[in-house]
Structure formats: C-alpha cells, structure tokens
C-alpha cells in the first residue's frame, strides 16, 4: 500500500507538472501574465507540488512587512550584474501559487530546474505553505510592522506564522534594529544587519505605531538608546538586561548630503552610493548588501553592481518636471498605516513648498464593500501639518475620512480640499511656481494615479507663464 501511495504521488506530481506547463503555454500564447495560474493549477492537482518540484541548489527567500519587493529586486539585479541568473517571482505573485509558477517556468519539460539560484519574494502569511517545502538556504526578514488589519492582524501573529514554518537549516538574515523580527526563532542560525546611530534619531517614539514596548524576555518596559522611527532602533531592558542584538553588517556614516553610506562587517567595508535619501530605502539597500556578503561577494563587486544601474523600482517613486512644478509619484501602500506614515515622513522632509493629493484608497474595497479605515488612526497624518505643505487634496471614496483625519491632525482647514473624484483633484491644486506636487497612491490604484499625474502635469504646463 505504501508503494502504491508513493507511485500515485509521483503520478499526481507529473500530472501537475504537465498541466501547469500547459496552462503556462496557453496563457503566454494569449499574451497573458502566467505568474499565478499555472502554479495554482499545479498545487490543486498536487498539494505537495512545492516539496516534489526540482528546485535550484541555492534558494534565497525574502519576506517581511515592508521592503521585500525592493530588496528582492535589488538582490536579483546585483546577482545578475555578478553574472548569476536567478529564478525568481519578480514579475508575479509572492504566494505559494506564484512560486510554484516560477518553478514551472524555470524547469525543463521533465521538471529539472534550469537554474542554480533562486530569489523568491514570499508573502509573510504564506510562510507555512512555502518554507517547509522550498527550504530556503537564506531567509531575509526585512522587518515586521503592523500591516493590513484584516489579513495580517498584528506583527506578533505574523511572527508566529513565520517562526512555526522555519526549517532548522535555514539561515536567517534579520534586522537587529527591529526587535520583533530579530527575536524570531532564537535557535536558528542567523546574521544581523542594522544602521548605527544617525543624526535625527530620537529615544521617545514620535509615531502613533509602536509595536513593541515591553521586553520580549521579561515584559518589563523597554528603554531605547536610539530610535529611528516606530519601534526601529536599539533598545534594552533595565530590568533583565535584554538588549537588541549587535549587527554583523552595519550601515555606518550614512550621509544624505554626500549620498553615501559605509557598509561594514568583520571582513571588510565598502563605501556605497545611496540609492535613495529615505531611511527605509537605506535599510533596503543595506539588507541587499548583507545578503550579497552572506553569499560571499566582496564589497567591491557589490559596489560595481550598484554602479551599473541597480536601483529602486520606478513604480514606487518617480519625479518629473511639468512647467514650473515638480510632480512626484509616491506609492503609499493602502490600508497600511506604517507605509503611509513613512511616506508622509519622507514627503515632509523634502525641501520646498509642497501640495499633496492623497488617494491611498483601496479601489477593490470601495467596489465590493467599505474600506476598514481604522488604519487612518494608526497613521502619522500629523507629519503633514507643516507650513511648507500648503494644500492637501483628500480624494476618492474615503475623501471625507481623510479630511476629518487631517483636521484632527491639526492641519488648518484652509489648506484642505476634498474631492470624491481623483481625476478632479488636480484642479484643486494651486500649482505654485517652483513647488512640488506629491501624488500618494495605493497599490491597486497605479493606473488611476497615472491619470491623475497626467492631469496634474497638463494643468502645470498650461498654467506655466
């Protein structure tokens, strides 16, 4: 009977492999994206497809609340610059079906993998369906923060999911400035990355979200030696002596003027040109450097990779000139208080006068039910209460909620406008010469944001003297 079971399992796998490949071929013939359905078909036919599929010899998985796509893409690009082709799911889903689709795409007709290395972005909640089967050699956890209330509940829940799914052999690459993720699975091999104290660091939390205030060891109240934002920083417990771990890979001498950072570890250091002047992207860059160092690449090689054009995805941030106004597109993940807080903090730090269009509505929710807006009150709208932010247009299905939230954040009412239609929002801007317009949009509103940008640019160009 056991032999029959093994035989049937093998048959099921072969059927899933062929069906998945046929599905992929059909979708590609139709000009469609084949990054999810082939894998979903394969998993439906063979639930242990991921365990059975032939996989590259080296697998790096990247998970975490924020930054995983950016970090994943940086690693893929750096490896490519180093001459390493990677199997990846950069163009598709980060769930089990997405990774199964990638494995199908990266294998020959008999299912043998055509790649030596894989870099997979992994949704945190999918950890149980992924990690026990693909057994990553390295698992990068960028950070754990509050995310979607409905899907991810809170960081402790996600930490529990990831921890319960970790293979013993997987080496973790963790952010030592994040006590939630860095405390995961103490018995797993690990390396830490972190940024040393920077000007502007505080000790008291100035954010509405602060996800770890009590010592993980004794529940005493934590004290921060320095804090970057939210719970990110270096903390200790005066009661039991617990403290944040020390980094193996340190981001040091971060200089936003010169746009450089030194990445330092026990075996050397390198001075890197920063890809972005936002702190969260400095973390993303340092994470990628740490991974490349773990894989054995010298700093010189990694620097060459960055120098050859490796950068941050354009779809998340871009700026261009229109008339006398700079129009900036800034993705601010919808229903994600922390991502929006970071975006607000970044926008607030930019020089010069600014006007904002806030359109972080979740369009899918607005069509099918009513967006859960609790996240607005975890989000640091207070950062937008500045004299150099002269106009904020709250727009979309949740415009009135944004408007009310901004008033409660202290933004004077004369600076606020409200528009149900996103496309009408640019008409409510002043478009002052030499200033910037920031369009903050959510993840399912990219096309709509492009239309808003186009309208903003058009108005800026026609009003230019």
């Amino acid at each position: 009977m056991k032999g029959a079971g093994v035989f049937l399992g093998r048959i099921r796998f072969i059927l899933a492999l062929l069906s998945g490949k046929l599905t992929r071929a059909a979708l590609r013939a139709l000009g469609r994206n084949a990054s999810y359905l082939p894998g979903a078909v394969a998993l439906r036919l063979c639930p242990d497809f991921l365990a059975r599929a032939d996989k590259p010899g080296r697998i790096i998985a990247v998970t975490g609340t924020n930054g995983k796509t950016t970090v994943c893409n940086l690693i893929i690009d750096l490896l490519a610059r180093a001459g390493v082709r990677t199997l990846n799911n950069a163009l598709g889903s980060n769930t089990a079906a997405g990774i199964a689709s990638a494995l199908l795409a990266g294998s020959g007709i008999m299912g043998r993998s055509k790649f030596q290395t894989a870099v997979f972005e992994s949704d945190e909640r999918s950890a149980k369906r992924l990690f026990p089967f693909i057994k990553p050699d390295h698992l990068v956890i960028t950070n754990l923060f509050r995310d979607s209330i409905m899907r991810n509940a809170h960081p402790e829940y996600i930490a529990g999911i990831i921890e319960s799914a970790l293979p013993e052999t997987t080496k973790l690459i963790l952010n030592c400035d994040d006590l939630i993720s860095s405390s995961l699975s103490p018995s797993s091999p690990r390396a830490y990355f972190g940024i040393e104290r920077m000007p502007g660091d505080v000790t008291r939390c100035v954010n509405r979200i602060n996800d770890i205030r009590l010592c993980p060891a004794c529940d005493g109240e934590l004290v921060y030696d320095h804090r970057r934002y939210h719970h990110i920083g270096r903390a200790r417990c005066p009661e039991c002596g617990f403290r944040s771990p020390e980094p193996d890979y340190t981001g040091a001498d971060v200089d936003f003027g010169a746009m450089t950072m030194t990445a330092r570890d026990a075996d050397g250091e390198g001075v890197y040109e920063l890809l972005s002047d936002s702190v969260f992207n400095v973390y993303n860059q340092l994470t990628a450097i740490a991974v490349m160092r773990e894989l054995g690449y010298p700093h010189s090689r990694i620097r060459e990779g960055f120098g050859a054009g490796v950068g941050i995805l354009e779809s998340r941030y871009s700026e261009e000139r229109a008339g006398d106004v700079t129009v900036v597109m800034q993705m601010a993940k919808d229903r994600n208080a922390l991502a929006c807080s970071r975006a607000f903090d970044y926008v607030a730090s930019r020089p010069g006068g600014k006007e904002l269009i806030l359109m972080m509505n979740n369009l899918h929710d607005s069509k099918n039910w009513s967006e859960n807006v609790c996240w607005l009150y975890d989000c640091d709208f207070e950062f937008l209460n500045r004299d150099d932010i002269t106009r904020i247009v709250a727009t979309g299905p949740r415009a009135r909620d944004y408007y009310y939230r901004l008033l409660l954040a202290g933004v004077p009412e004369e600076r606020l406008r409200c528009s149900d239609s996103e496309l009408s929002a640019p008409g409510l801007l002043e478009l002052r010469r030499g200033e910037s317009v920031y369009i903050l949009y959510g993840t399912d509103a990219i096309e709509l944001a492009e239309l808003v940008r186009a309208e903003t640019k058009h108005l800026a160009e026609v009003t230019a003297p």
Partner: protein
Amino acid sequence: MLFPELCDLFGDQANTELLLRALPDAEAVRTPLRARPAFLDRHIDLVYMGSTTERGQALAAAALAPLGPEIESRIDAGARFLATGNSLEIFGKYIDCGGGERIDGLGLFNVYARRDMAHRYNGLFLGKYGDIDIVGFKSRFSHLYDTETAPQAAGARDFLFDTVKGAGRRPGDSREGLRRANLMATYVLGPLLILNPLFTKKLLIDMGAPNAELPFERAAMASYEARLREFENPKTGFEY
C-alpha cells in the same frame, strides 16, 4: 487608559484622544501593566481599554485577575468603562485559546471567547444603541459564546448594541458586545468614537459633560453619514 503600552492596536488610541479634546480640562491617567489601576482608588470618569494582541490579552488578564472582586464592585457601583475590540473578552469567564490552553477572565459575564487563529473574521457592523445608528469594523480571531453552566436569562439585556447588519457577539447573534451598569464593551474595534459622533456625544452627556463639543463635528458627521449610507446600501458586502 488601561495598559496603553499593550492595548493600542487598530487606531484605538484615537478614542481617548477625541474625548480629551472634547474635554480639555480632563486629566489623562495612563495605567501601565504593572501598576494598580487608578479607578480602584479614586473616581475616574471613564476607564478605557483598547484592542490588543493575543499575548497582550494574557498579560492584561493576568494583571487584572487579582483585582477581580474590586473591579466587579467598582463596576456595580457605577464606574464607567469602555472596552473595544478583543479587550472585551477579558470581562467574560475565560478565553478558550485552543489546544487545551485557556485564559481566565474576570468572570463579570456568563460568556466565554473561543479563539481560532486559523480563521480571521473581518466584517462591517451596523447596529443600534437606542435610536443611534452605530457603524464600525470588526476584525478578530475569536467569537463570544454563552457559557453552558449559566445561560443568559430570557430577555436579559447584557449586551451593548443591537445588530442590524453584520455579526454581533458571533455571526448569527444579534447581540453585540457586553453591558453591565456603566461598563460598555464591544467587539467593534479601532476609533469607535471617531466613527460614531452621535454615540460619542451621548457618552459625553452620560459622563456629565452635556456641553462638551466634538472637535470638527461637521466633518465628523459628514464622514459618519457617508459611511452610514454605504452600510445601509444593500449592495455593500458585509463580510470580507
């Protein structure tokens, strides 16, 4: 505010912020986990407790357990409480965490919570508090059940809101939340008072501040009325 370092998920802190703005002369008293709650020793106009993690529930319940009889006596003497989200579960008999694990509650109600971490319930809520429409959001891993040993007396009103649409204590139960004297607890989470200006004004009256003004009441009402229309729309889905 009870255990603000633990009980502050989902925008809950906005509730007390709103009240403090409406009552500019009010004093905010924050009781951390290891401190004795102030309301046990002096008059507090409102004790608020917000949503927390599952571990937070265990810590909070353990901190309050030795004070159970005192808390019960204060509540029966009229102490005003508002608990949102899963903090309400601490006021029941126990929380069944699954796998044989259980957290003892304060036992103030003949209910228990049953937790299922594999299934998160997400829904909208439309209810009534007297003639006041209540709108809100629910997101949780557990539901509330009557205890077998002491079911509620028929017609007993130990709940806070009447459910119009969405789930009450659990899907299919029209009773929402818990009520005992001036203790009000609801599974509606996050900025309940922000979302429901009429309920907030009633609460302020009950707290002895009938002339308190809500900040930006016009904007609050615009947001509330728009949401109420959405929730009353039969085409609006109520479970995520």
